[in-house]
């Protein structure tokens, strides 16, 4: 049962929240893009980011963005001479771009990590691998999300 008082409090809260968003949102797309680029450049630095070697596995059509299986494998011998130091995963449309940063070494045997992520909206998912020789490789997948995660208040 919702009392009149509760209803009014809720209505006021919702309106206030919407008001707040109206003030925050006009450049949300540009801000997200800038945040993603900042996050990537924080990982990569000045080194060139090349496409290849990395295989990012995400289902192309996602029913529920709250749990999305994500797996990343990198083509690397994983020996002391050449191995994958880190694997980073980013999502383009999330309120903040980071998903996971995994740090492995030659003892991993195989450069593969799988996890489950939240994906907010239709867009790209990006995986970046940092190799022991200092090079960076990436792969990206465009996904379509029908039920999005984290956006109950319409952040987008």
């Amino acid at each position: 049962m919702t009392s009149r008082r509760q209803f009014l409090a809720l209505a006021c809260g919702t309106l206030a929240a919407r008001e707040l968003h109206a003030q925050l949102d006009p450049n949300i797309q540009a801000k997200r893009k800038a945040a993603l680029e900042a996050a990537i450049s924080k990982v990569v630095g000045d080194a060139p980011l090349r496409v290849g070697k990395v295989k990012l596995d995400v289902p192309p059509l996602i029913d529920n963005g709250n749990t999305v299986p994500v797996s990343v494998t990198v083509d690397s011998p994983m020996t002391a001479a050449g191995y994958v130091k880190a694997i980073h995963v980013f999502s383009e449309k999330n309120p903040q771009p980071y998903v996971i940063s995994a740090y492995l070494g030659p003892r991993a045997g195989r450069a593969s990590v799988s996890t489950r992520a939240r994906i907010a909206d239709t867009g790209r998912v990006i995986a970046i691998a940092e190799l022991s020789d200092g090079s960076y490789w990436s792969d990206s997948v465009s996904v379509v999300v029908t039920l999005s995660a984290c956006l109950e208040d319409g952040l987008i």
């Binding site: 929240a17 995994a102 070494g105 003892r107 991993a108 990590v113 489950r116 939240r118 994906i119 109950e152």
Partner: protein
């Protein structure tokens, strides 16, 4: 209270690549959601995960809000010697969970 589930093979051949799957029970509250009255729900997530093999770190991960609830992390390592694999999750509000798994290498 901190519940975790880890699968590690009980025994492995020396040099074999083993797959380890870990799961920690945690809501992973993002800090972007609001309550019915419009207040933000504060962030409460697991931020770090470390796996050590006989005291040597073999895998480490930094987690963010975009990880699903009850974060699953699956990775591989080479079975070098018999011993213990230690898992440790740490997070917001002093969250700490540990787990130990024995492995026999033949």
């Amino acid at each position: 209270m901190a519940r975790v589930a880890v699968t590690v093979p009980a025994s492995a051949k020396r040099g074999e690549i083993i797959e380890i799957k870990t799961l920690a029970a945690h809501v992973m509250e993002t800090g972007f959601r609001r309550t019915q009255t419009g207040e933000l729900v504060p962030r409460d997530i697991i931020t770090d995960f470390v796996c050590t093999y006989n005291g040597v770190e073999v895998f480490r991960a930094k987690l963010h809000q975009a990880m699903a609830a009850n974060p699953l992390i699956a990775f591989t390592t080479v079975a070098t010697e018999s011993g213990a694999l230690q898992f440790k999750w740490t997070g917001d509000n002093g969250y700490l969970a540990t787990h130990k798994a024995e492995i026999k290498v033949v």
